[in-house]
């Protein structure tokens, strides 16, 4: 087991190196020269050249790449072209917001996805099942950003129940702390701020979690149906165990194995969806920031963010594989290849 995990972690190194090459190629080789964008169109050739020199863009590409990788290994991702602040601190200032949103979204998606999926399977072909499956189908077909817009129109514009964007009322913003507003406000005992942060979180989490919820619902339903058709379930029923107990004790546990994997993989894909959700809700997280930096050709930031997201993404996938192996003893590590 330990050997398997170590092997998998070692295999991440070439993948991440490859990711940095891909990102570097896109941002430095295929992209237009950032100098006129950063300095403005009226910058002189000399000024542009001087700026490129100062930012190391006149060096040969392989040296630029080498410097980037060397920096990344020591936690230095360069500095933003615009703010001149280290990319690492820019990212760290925004990462908690994105994690808070993604965790809220996956919680919503898992709880409702499993609930609807289990009921749909148990009451197969009932009205509830059909409605649940229809909802799931709509959930995967709707663009995240449009769902976000609809939620804003309804809950903020029409019913005035929830705020349309942002993370917290600026007057209530917690100082210092972890950057996770729900935790920070709770720790300081400021319930008003906690409530406000929670109200701001609801709509973005709903929008971001909807497609994951749909996928988890479908997975839970089909896995549950498979399990309910197994012989051991028939045996349990034949023994006279109540249907409720058969479902909750015997079937659910086994049916959850593939669902766990899907939830883990969804957590990874939520990081991509966060780019769109954060833009719609002006959520001050890493996705919103990345889009703005891409539009401004702020290469160091984009490289750093994409590399970081890729790291998180592959680590989550690795964790999912390990958890899956724990849950399902039938999987043999030795036979499994990366």
């Amino acid at each position: 087991m330990v050997k398997y995990i170590v092997k998998r972690i070692l295999m991440l190194i070439p993948v991440l190196l490859g990711v940095s090459i891909i990102v570097f190629l896109i941002m430095r080789v295929f992209s237009p020269d950032p100098a006129p964008i950063v300095l403005g169109q009226h910058a002189t050739v000399a000024a542009a050249n001087q700026w490129r020199e100062a930012n190391g863009l006149n060096l040969p590409l392989y040296i630029q790449f080498f410097n980037f990788v060397k920096g990344a290994l020591t936690g230095d991702l360069g500095t933003s072209y615009y703010t001149k602040t280290p990319v690492m601190s820019e990212i760290m200032a925004r990462f908690p917001a994105t994690i808070e949103l993604a965790v809220a979204a996956i919680l919503f998606a898992s709880v409702f996805g499993i609930l609807i999926g289990v009921i749909s399977a148990v009451k197969k072909n009932s009205i509830f099942d059909n409605a649940g499956m229809f909802l799931a189908l709509i959930g995967v077909s709707m663009p995240i950003f449009w769902l976000g817009i609809l939620l804003i129109i309804l809950f903020a514009g029409t019913w005035h129940l929830l705020p349309s964007g942002g993370r917290i009322d600026p007057l209530l913003q917690p100082m210092g702390g972890t950057g996770f507003y729900l935790l920070d406000t709770l720790a300081s005992g400021d319930m008003e701020a906690f409530g406000d942060a929670l109200r701001h979180l609801i709509l973005p989490a709903l929008a971001l979690g909807m497609s994951s919820m749909a996928i988890i619902t479908r997975m839970t339903r089909s896995s549950m149906l498979d399990t309910l058709n197994q012989d051991y379930i028939r045996t349990a029923r034949a023994k006279g165990i109540s249907e409720h107990k058969v479902v909750s004790h015997h079937a659910l546990r086994n049916a959850m194995i593939p669902v766990t994997t899907v939830i883990g993989l969804q957590l990874g894909s939520l990081l991509g969806g966060a780019v769109l959700t954060e833009t719609v809700f002006s959520w001050p997280g890493i996705g919103n920031y990345t889009v703005q930096c891409i539009l401004k050709s702020d290469f160091p930031v984009v490289q750093g963010v994409v590399l970081l997201i890729a790291c998180v993404f592959v680590l989550i996938n690795l964790l999912v594989d390990i958890v899956y192996a724990f849950l399902d003893p039938r999987i043999k590590f030795s036979r499994k290849e990366g």
Binding site: I26, F145, L150, L225, T279, F313
Partner: protein
């Protein structure tokens, strides 16, 4: 269930599989027969046919020029003249939605075509060759998969610049790994089969073995994936448009329309309703068809 499975050429290479190979369309006939019984899939197919028709004869259906702005008519709520209202520049939203059908379908289909062709070629080579070639190709695919696809597409667009053709390339590129993986997996599972070995023994060239003997047998999985892939591509196109990275103005792309109307969310919410409905219906149709095809091909999921 097992008996049903036995007729599938993928799992049981036999005289039957060889017979199927001589007449590859019979596999699709089987798929079609099963598909016709699936009401949801038929509905998806009808919607797709309708969208295709709208995309084809769109210009004849539009009551107004979709790109012509008319500031005196801006922000008109839906009424008898402008069924879906007008946008911030006074353009008829109904006409723009119709015009957008062509863009969405074109981008969706072309992007899938790119990822399909490149993915199938790479996956075939990796699966068939094995060894170092396989390792190199699949590790590169892993690297691409390690970046969330929408983020990768955004980065490509930032590098390539705006435009439909560039959106097609960006969206097509990011989906290559999925197809490569599926095709490689399928090829690994059929390449040791007797009929492939036989084809090799009688001296066929590798490319001929792949195209004539292996690919027809993995075609069904690819068709399912490609159908579902179109819905992803339509969603990605809309997402790029929404972020302002898609088409060049004034082209009417549904996601772009949503992105530009965002500032009027409280004053003119109707400008944000119809483009979203159009995207959702299109994606839904391809999802319905894709799910139907998968069920038609997989007796196990048909059971559920």
């Amino acid at each position: 269930m097992k008996q049903k499975k036995a007729v599938r050429p993928q799992t049981e290479p036999s005289a039957q599989a060889v017979a199927l190979l001589e007449k590859p369309e019979s596999q699709f006939k089987e798929m079609w027969d099963s598909l016709r019984e699936n009401k949801a899939a038929v509905l998806g197919l009808i919607i797709i046919a309708f969208l295709a028709l709208v995309a084809l004869i769109g210009p004849f259906l539009m009551p107004f020029d979709p790109d012509q702005s008319n500031m005196s008519q801006s922000f008109r709520w839906p009424d008898g003249t402008h069924w879906f209202g007008t946008d911030q520049l006074g353009r008829d939203i109904f006409s723009r939605i119709i015009s957008g059908a062509r863009i969405s379908l074109t981008v969706g289909l072309s992007a899938v075509a790119i990822s399909l062709v490149v993915g199938v070629v790479l996956g075939s080579i990796a699966g068939y060759r094995g060894g170092k070639t396989d390792t190199v190709i699949m590790r590169v695919m892993d690297m691409m998969l390690a970046i969330p696809s929408i983020l990768l597409a955004i980065a490509f667009m930032a590098a390539l610049g705006k435009g439909i053709d560039k959106a097609v390339i960006a969206i097509g590129l990011v989906s290559i790994p999925e197809y490569a993986r599926i095709v490689r997996g399928c090829i690994l599972s059929v390449k040791e089969n007797d009929y492939v070995q036989a084809a090799r023994v009688i001296g066929n060239r590798n490319s001929r073995i792949i195209f004539k003997h292996i690919l027809p047998n993995v075609m069904s999985s690819i068709v399912v994936r490609a159908t579902l892939g179109i819905s992803t591509a339509v969603l990605d196109t809309a997402a790029l448009g929404f972020l302002g990275l898609g088409v060049q103005p004034p082209a009417a792309e549904w996601g772009d329309m949503l992105g530009r109307a965002r500032g009027f969310i409280f004053t003119a919410p109707y400008t944000l309703i119809f483009p979203g409905v159009a995207i959702t219906v299109t994606v839904l149709a391809f999802n319905l068809l894709g799910d139907g095809l998968r069920d038609a091909l997989d007796p196990k999921s048909r059971k559920n």
